[in-house]
């Protein structure tokens, strides 16, 4: 069955674009969340295989917090999609075992690559039995 992806992105147009690319990759979008609490609710309900995570979210909230919650509560890892990916940001999320980083503005091909890579990581992990964070 196709991997289930949660999109966390507060800009509707970009979220739409992401959804279109995820579906083009043959994956399933389970929900689109705009803030950390929405992401957590969606993860609880839908148990996605991984998430596409924007770093600056609605109402001044942080995708890094959302990524931490997703990882700690449900073992869900993220591909970070952001306009400010730098060394400091990578360091801050290293503990949540990121599946990839895609800088904005992103290209379809770039995101497709990242999705394929994430899918491979996840299926390998499933093969070995998930190691961390599942409740």
């Amino acid at each position: 069955m196709a991997a289930a992806v949660l999109i966390v992105e507060d800009q509707t147009l970009i979220a739409w674009h992401l959804r279109e690319i995820v579906e083009q990759a043959g994956l399933r979008v389970v929900d689109v969340a705009r803030a950390p609490d929405e992401a957590l609710d969606a993860a609880r309900r839908e148990r996605p295989d991984f998430a596409l995570m924007d770093v600056r979210l609605a109402h001044d909230t942080s995708g890094i917090d959302a990524a931490r919650l997703l990882y700690e509560c449900f073992g869900v890892r993220c591909i970070f999609v952001s306009a400010n990916i730098d060394v400091a940001m990578r360091k801050r999320v290293a503990g949540y075992r990121p599946l990839g980083f895609v800088g904005k503005p992103f290209l379809r091909a770039e995101l497709l690559d990242a999705l394929r890579h994430a899918e491979a990581c996840i299926s390998q992990e499933d093969g070995n039995g998930r190691s961390a964070g599942t409740d």
Binding site: L13, W16, H17, E20, A83, N84, K104, F106, L107, D113
Partner: protein
């Protein structure tokens, strides 16, 4: 303007002397905290962030000069002004050593209350102006990051919009036009990655820029051209940003065109992008492919001439307005004050843009 009232830290192991100094400072209107040895002084300085540290040299644990050195080396306390004081270590060498260790001023004890107050006020003035500069810099930094984020986000919106619109089209030709528009916007957008990552906003590192751009072009491909091999050979060249963007747009057009039209009789198509010094004060951009037909990259990007030869392709390039791609290349080459030329060898077809190198603008970063 200051969130916390400024504090003076008075460090002296001699209780009587410490009392006298504190009294003088308090009657001059300052808020004072005290420490009786070097280690306490360092700890209190880290906690209270005093504006000025009045620091005796002879301390029981570590010397006042060492305390000063450590204060200035610690990011938490480096901004405190240090006024070194001594009644005994007052030889020229002592005073010089203190100032060399980072002290901002030196007073010989005993000191008159007026002088202590005046020197402390002078140091406070310095402290405040440094503090305000730091705040202004931090604000600028934040503004720059915010604008950078905004720019990239807006470019993302543009690309998402084009992409969504293009994906809805049935007609292959129309989809291709959207892919070209996206590629052009990307070539312009990707310079921003460079500008904010590098320390120098006036020039762009062409090696990183073109390698990244070609990587994106190779990945995006055009329709079924995904088997193309795209390689780059770029000298270590830093160009003024304006020039760099023009080069990137030319590369984008030529590579897109080669991806579409350069189909060799057998094997995968190979495209090489080269940017190198050409003589003392010029550089040459070359995009070469191993295609079989005279698609003549620039001649007519949108409508390749069937069965034409090299000469006619060149004539077309020179005389006839063709698709937007070739117009862009000619226009941008002109903007670079460059010459456009073509050749056809065993290696394949090549388009060259030879242009004069401009003096690179100098950027003096705030040290």
């Amino acid at each position: 303007m200051h969130e916390m009232p400024e504090v003076i830290l008075n460090v002296n192991d001699n209780e009587a002397a410490r009392y006298v100094t504190t009294r003088m400072l308090r009657s001059a209107g300052f808020q004072v905290v005290e420490a009786a040895n070097g280690m306490d002084a360092l700890r209190i300085a880290q906690e209270n962030r005093p504006a000025v540290v009045v620091l005796d040299i002879n301390l029981p644990d570590i010397s006042g000069i060492e305390v000063c050195r450590r204060l200035k080396a610690d990011a938490r306390t480096a901004w405190s002004m240090v006024l070194q004081m001594s009644a005994t270590n007052i030889a020229l060498t002592d005073r010089v050593e203190s100032l060399a260790a980072g002290a901002d001023s030196f007073l010989i004890e005993p000191v008159e209350p007026e002088e202590l107050a005046a020197v402390t006020r002078a140091l406070l003035r310095l402290y405040r102006s440094e503090h305000e500069l730091r705040l202004a810099l931090a604000e600028r930094d934040m503004l720059l990051r915010e604008v950078n984020h905004r720019v990239k986000n807006s470019l993302q919106l543009v690309l998402s919009m084009l992409s969504l619109q293009g994906a809805g089209l049935r007609d292959a030709k129309a989809r291709e036009l959207f892919a070209k528009a996206i590629s052009r916007v990307t070539a312009i957008a990707s310079v921003h990655e460079q500008l904010y990552q590098g320390r120098d906003p006036l020039t762009v590192d062409m090696h990183t820029y073109l390698t990244g751009l070609c990587g994106e072009l190779a990945r995006a491909g055009i329709d079924d051209a995904s088997d193309a091999r795209l390689s780059t050979e770029v000298d270590n060249l830093h160009l003024p940003t304006e020039q760099g963007v023009s080069i990137a747009l030319i590369v984008n057009e030529l590579v897109m065109n080669a991806l579409k039209h350069a189909r060799p009789a057998q094997g995968p198509s190979r495209i090489v992008v080269r940017l190198a010094h050409h003589g003392a004060d010029r550089a040459r951009l070359t995009v070469r492919d191993n295609g079989a037909g005279p698609h003549a990259a620039v001649a007519n990007a949108e409508r390749p001439e069937p069965g034409g030869d090299r000469a006619s392709a060149r004539a077309v390039a020179a005389d006839r307005p063709a698709g937007l791609g070739s117009q862009l290349v000619r226009m941008l080459a002109r903007q670079l004050h460059g010459e456009l030329s073509f050749d056809h060898t065993q290696e394949g077809y090549a388009t060259h843009v030879t242009f004069p190198l401009q003096a690179v603008p100098t950027w003096r970063p705030p040290s």
